[in-house]
């Protein structure tokens, strides 16, 4: 099964870059890849670079910024390929952001499941 691990963390300053944290992420990604668990993963630009798109009555409504203005924002994600939730959680808890933010783990709905 594939799980989307959404990384919700605080990101105060646009220019802020934490080299040590970045190294920890690289280490995590390398370990997950070596275990055959890592299906995808990226970090994202600052939430202020987000554009939220809605279409109402065929009109595009764009807003500057993330969908919800919360203290914690999605700052990155991993797609983890694990046999069950326990193992997905075991990997998610090792994502560096879990120490100060939160990791939301959600199963990805596979196309063939959707067709049933």
């Amino acid at each position: 099964m594939k799980y989307l691990a959404m990384i919700w963390t605080e990101w105060k300053d646009e220019r802020e870059f934490d080299l040590e944290e970045a190294m920890r992420y690289r280490e995590f990604a390398a370990e997950a890849a070596a275990a055959g668990v890592l299906a995808a993963g990226d970090s994202l630009h600052h939430p202020s670079t987000s554009t939220t798109v809605r279409v109402r009555d065929e009109q595009d409504l764009l807003t500057d910024g993330p969908f919800a203005e919360t203290k914690e924002q999605i700052t990155g994600y991993f797609v983890l390929d694990c046999p069950d939730l326990d193992q997905a959680i075991a990997w998610a808890r090792r994502i560096p952001g879990a120490r100060h933010g939160a990791i939301e783990v959600r199963p990805i709905l596979a196309m063939d499941e959707m067709m049933q």
Binding site: C82, P83, D84, L85, D86, I89, P107, L109
Partner: protein, 413 residues
């Protein structure tokens, strides 16, 4: 007519094992429940005519399996599963093996990825085999709310891939604590019903004890499981004395101890003894030991409060929860007097300010310190915060009694 009652009894007795066995292959709570329900309806139709088969469990198992296969075929889903189900058989000798399945079922129902409400409801539904209206009634919930909660939980188990197996050794201790927490909660919900007119809801107490017994049979090597069973037995043994004829709450020192269930106390003590053979005292062991101190003496005055304080000290070290600390302070007041206890109580205001029992304990200390005005407002605050109507009324009465005493005093002078 009589057969119908018998069928229902058999179904109740066999439900959990059969359900666990079916989920083990289907990996789908909803499908297993549907199949079992269908098998039950067939039994209700056939058995009164054909007679009860010699091996009812096996009969129900085969029928439920066939119902599940039919449904899979009808819905043209998962041909892999269809084949697997074809090979699935249940021999009468398998009762022992089914125990492992039941254990998996319990751990899945109590998985921490489910909300606590969902864990409790699911455990009562599929492990205790209670029916939906029974659970809804016990928790004073509308049936639709509960049904929704159950459906959501069952789907999460399937869709999020919550594993149907015993957790590995590195997770076991934490998960077991979670399971015991659910059992304790079920019992406690019955013991101090938070709402509703009755102080006690004995059915949930019985279910809690049943679950603890079941776990003690399935995991005899786990000392905390036995300790929990001991705690529940010893606590429940006092039930008859906890309310008076009018249904009003009676506090521990005022209880008629001859009304305690002494056979159950003996059973609790022997479970506690078996749990105590292990090295480390866990939180349930300590709480059961405290309960045993109370049930072990014939008169309230004989209670060994210093020993109870020592047990609470150990408990607070292990689980520094504010409620455990509050209970410790109450024990300190009995062992060393209200002055010292009142000093220690101060630190708990912040975390327990909204907790009725905190204000009741504070009121009691203030009363013993002869600070009547403060005691009165503390009783009032406790009464406002109590969710059980009987307790609310009793606390309001305690406040009113202080008024009367004050009036008498001033009347004298």
């Amino acid at each position: 007519m009589e057969t119908t009652a018998q069928v229902e009894q058999i179904f109740r007795d066999e439900f959990t094992r059969l359900f666990a066995w079916l989920v083990g292959s289907l990996r789908d709570f909803e499908a297993a429940e549907d199949a079992l329900q269908e098998a039950f309806l067939i039994a209700l139709r056939r058995w009164p005519v054909d007679g009860i088969p010699p091996n009812p469990r096996g009969w129900l198992a085969v029928t439920a399996r066939n119902c599940a296969i039919d449904r899979i075929r009808r819905e043209r889903r998962r041909p892999d599963l269809e084949k697997q189900m074809d090979h699935l058989t249940l021999e009468p000798k398998d009762a022992r093996d089914l125990d492992d399945e039941v254990l998996c079922l319990i751990f899945t129902c109590c998985h921490p990825a489910l909300s606590l409400d969902a864990r409790v409801a699911l455990t009562l539904r599929v492990v205790c085999g209670l029916r939906l209206p029974e659970i809804a009634h016990a928790f004073l919930l509308p049936e639709t709310t509960l049904a929704q909660r159950l459906v959501r939980a069952k789907r999460k188990i399937r869709n999020a891939g919550i594993p149907y197996e015993m957790p590995g050794t590195e997770l076991l201790a934490g998960r077991l604590a979670g399971v015991l927490g659910v059992v304790y909660l079920v019992f406690n919900e019955g013991y101090v019903a938070t709402e509703g007119p009755m102080l006690l809801r004995p059915d949930l107490c019985q279910e809690g004890i049943r679950l603890a017994r079941l776990l003690a049979t399935l995991m005899p090597q786990e000392p905390e499981v036995r300790a929990l069973l001991a705690l529940l037995l010893l606590t429940d043994a006092r039930r008859a004395a906890r309310t008076d004829a009018a249904g009003e709450p009676v506090l521990l020192p005022d209880q008629d101890r001859t009304r305690w269930d002494h056979a159950q106390i003996q059973e609790g003590l022997s479970e506690l003894g078996r749990a105590g053979r292990h090295q480390q005292a866990g939180p349930y062991f300590l709480q059961a030991a405290i309960a045993a101190e109370h049930t072990g003496v014939e008169r309230a005055d004989d209670t060994n409060w210093p020993r109870i304080v020592r047990l609470y000290d150990a408990l607070v070290r292990l689980t520094p929860s504010p409620v455990a600390q509050l209970n410790r302070v109450v024990a300190v007041s009995m062992a060393a007097g209200p002055d010292l206890a009142y000093l220690e109580l101060g630190g708990l205001e912040e975390s327990l300010g909204d907790y009725s029992y905190y204000h009741a304990a504070r009121a009691d200390l203030l009363r013993r310190l002869d600070r009547r005005v403060s005691a009165r407002s503390a009783y009032q605050r406790a009464s406002e915060l109590a969710t059980n109507p009987k307790q609310r009324a009793a606390l309001a009465r305690a406040a009113a009694e202080l008024d009367e005493e004050a009036a008498e005093r001033f009347g004298d002078s």
